[in-house]
């Protein structure tokens, strides 16, 4: 055995850029970007930002490489790119919210929420969305009533009961395929189903609910499945070892532990279908008055309402924006409720 002696290197101290350096560089880079934009023809805000961002990436990396060394330069480069990606991703979201708020607030009011569209014509500025809210709640509610239990039970079967084999594989594949069904196909399916079973004249909210349930179930299955897999096996074994039967273990330990995640998954699924337009256009159509009965007659829904108002143009466009704002608010409200539910039920943290 030969001893190879390597003299230990002392830990070198590195000079670091001050904390304000990236911001200073950014400011400078934006200035240069503006200048470049001006030189390339006419000054545009977008151009200045774009050039500025490019200059910033190059400048901060080079500066860091000179002062701090290669490892830190790589770190700066990666940080800058990741931040840029985040900002890029946030731009559409923020601008969407701003846009809907700006145009939606034109007509959004308490009266708007409590009025329907009976007797409203082209250029009149009255009219509201009450009938569409009721319709959306009916259709989405009925759809959830079918899709949530069905989805959760399917997921429980897949995770807790199914033995590896053709049946389990078939269900998994079918769920995957169903996730990818275009919504218009679900609408056509529901329309045809009711045409065959009930008759061609039948129009009702429940048709839309069936179409949406078709879209929602696989989403619920998928997210609940993931959540159930996250529950540690040790908890199931702990319950079995206490002489708890399997079904009680599933209900009181597995579902109870995963309830926070399940709620979130279900909310995402609801948010996914509440804005569906195409299948509802095909099945439930649109009316001007409030229809309290989801099993008889056409029913108005928010997405279709927005579509119709926008298509009509003129003064109706404002109503379309206000309707869109209402829809977003409903989804936000649901999300808030889900947050509260999952906070209340989530496993209590340490200490």
């Amino acid at each position: 055995m030969t001893a190879v002696s390597v003299p230990p290197k002392p830990v070198r101290r590195r000079r670091r850029l001050p904390a304000y350096a990236p911001w200073a560089v950014l400011a400078g880079a934006l200035g240069v970007g503006a200048l470049l934009s001006l030189l390339s023809g006419t000054f545009t805000f977008t151009g200045a930002l774009l050039f500025g961002a490019l200059v910033h990436v190059v400048a901060i990396t080079t500066l860091s490489a000179v002062v701090e060394g290669r490892r830190w330069a790589t770190d700066r480069l990666a940080t800058t790119l990741v931040t840029a990606a985040f900002v890029l991703a946030a731009i559409p979201l923020v601008s969407l919210v701003v846009l809907v708020l700006r145009f939606g607030m034109e007509r959004f009011s308490w009266t708007f929420l409590n009025d329907d569209m009976v007797g409203i014509f082209g250029a009149s500025v009255e009219g509201g969305v009450f009938h569409a809210i009721i319709g959306t709640l009916w259709v989405t509610g009925l759809c959830s009533l079918v899709a949530i239990p069905l989805g959760i039970l399917t997921a429980v079967y897949l995770v807790e009961y199914a033995r590896p084999g053709p049946l389990k594989r078939a269900i998994t594949v079918l769920v995957d395929v169903m996730t990818g069904i275009p919504s218009i196909v679900a609408g056509l399916f529901a329309a045809t189903l009711f045409m065959v079973v009930v008759g061609p004249q039948y129009k009702a909210g429940v048709m839309g609910a069936v179409a949406l349930a078709l879209l929602m179930t696989p989403v619920v299955v998928r997210s609940v499945e993931e959540m159930l897999r996250l529950v540690p096996n040790e908890l199931r074994e702990a319950a079995y070892a206490l002489g708890v039967p399997k079904w009680l273990t599933v209900v009181k330990v597995v579902l109870r532990t995963a309830i926070a995640g399940i709620t979130t998954g279900v909310m995402i699924a609801i948010a996914r279908v509440i804005g569906e337009t195409a299948p509802l256009l095909l099945t439930v159509g649109i009316v001007a008055n409030v229809n309290w009965n989801a099993f008889d007659g056409r029913i108005a829904t928010l997405p279709v309402y927005v579509f119709r108002q926008y298509a009509q143009g003129g003064a109706s466009v404002d109503r379309a924006w206000a309707g869109a704002l209402t829809l977003i608010l409903i989804v936000m409200l649901l999300n808030l409720v889900a947050r509260l539910v999952s906070r209340y039920f989530s496993p209590k943290g340490a200490r």
Binding site: R163, P164, P232, E234, L235, R236, E237, A238, A239, Y240, A241, L242, G243, V244, P245, L248, T249, K252, V253, R256, T257, F345, P347, K348, G349, A350, R351
Partner: protein, 259 residues
């Protein structure tokens, strides 16, 4: 409140793989039986067959007999849920239910089975079980805090309290101290010594000093090689096993010559 188990010719399978072969032993009532042996030799697998936890794993099955109280645990009409109510288990890693408070964790065996008890009786069970597990004094002022707020050693004792709250006949412990520091280990070993007055205890351990310290009888498992089934080499009184075992392999293992 404790019973002996007579195991005869027990083979344990994972699917087609024979994991443990031909175990015959008697687990005496009101005593501690320790199972030792190198990793992968089937001690834990064997332990889990005693309360039918083994079959929870898909494809796992058991052949042979394990008779408690004149009833074969693997008999035709025996419900595994009933077996597990009689034979409790403590796992290697503490696993309190994260959604439950300390008190609810102790009452888990009652509450998860949808049984309703008057409040006074519940409080009595909680105090009895936590006192039995040597944890009462540490947690009596915070019974409503989540079970996960306790330290690792306390969590493990909470799991023991949870197991003895349902008054089982036998308590199986699968390396209950392997994740614990020496002080918590000592607390749990003391606890086992107290518990053996009332319970039959079977403990799997990698720690031979622990086996020597706490157990009355010791069984040595060994495996001939990877892919081969584990076997019970011998079982005897702990003092005999650690001073003059009849098998060479046992002596080698105990004296640290292999494994």
């Amino acid at each position: 409140m404790s019973k002996r188990i007579d195991v005869s010719d027990l083979d344990v399978y994972y699917g087609d793989f024979l994991a443990v072969e031909g175990v015959t032993m008697t687990i005496e009532a009101r005593s501690i039986t320790a199972l030792i042996g190198p990793s992968g030799c089937g001690k834990s697998t064997f332990l889990r067959t005693l309360n039918r936890m083994h079959e929870v794993i898909p494809g796992a099955r058991v052949e042979g007999k394990a008779v408690m109280d004149g009833v074969d645990l693997y008999g035709k009409h025996v419900d595994p849920v009933e077996v597990r109510r009689q034979i409790g288990m403590v796992f290697q890693r503490p696993n309190p239910f994260p959604t439950m408070s300390i008190a609810d964790n102790v009452l888990a065996g009652v509450k998860l089975n949808n049984r309703r008890l008057p409040r006074s009786e519940q409080e009595e069970i909680v105090e009895r079980a936590l006192t039995g597990a040597n944890l009462w004094n540490e947690v009596k002022d915070r019974l409503n805090r989540p079970g996960s707020s306790l330290s690792g050693g306390q969590q493990q004792r909470l799991c023991i309290a949870r197991a003895i709250a349902v008054r089982p006949q036998v308590l199986l412990m699968d390396e209950p101290c392997s994740a614990l520091d020496p002080i918590s280990t000592l607390a749990i070993e003391d606890l086992m010594n107290e518990l053996k007055d009332d319970y039959t205890i079977v403990i799997v351990t990698h720690n031979m000093q622990q086996a020597a310290r706490v157990s009355d009888r010791t069984g040595f498992f060994n495996i001939a090689g990877t892919g081969k089934p584990g076997r019970l080499i011998e079982i005897d009184d702990t003092s005999v096993m650690f001073s003059s075992p009849s098998q060479k392999a046992t002596e080698d293992y105990i004296s640290g010559r292999f494994g």
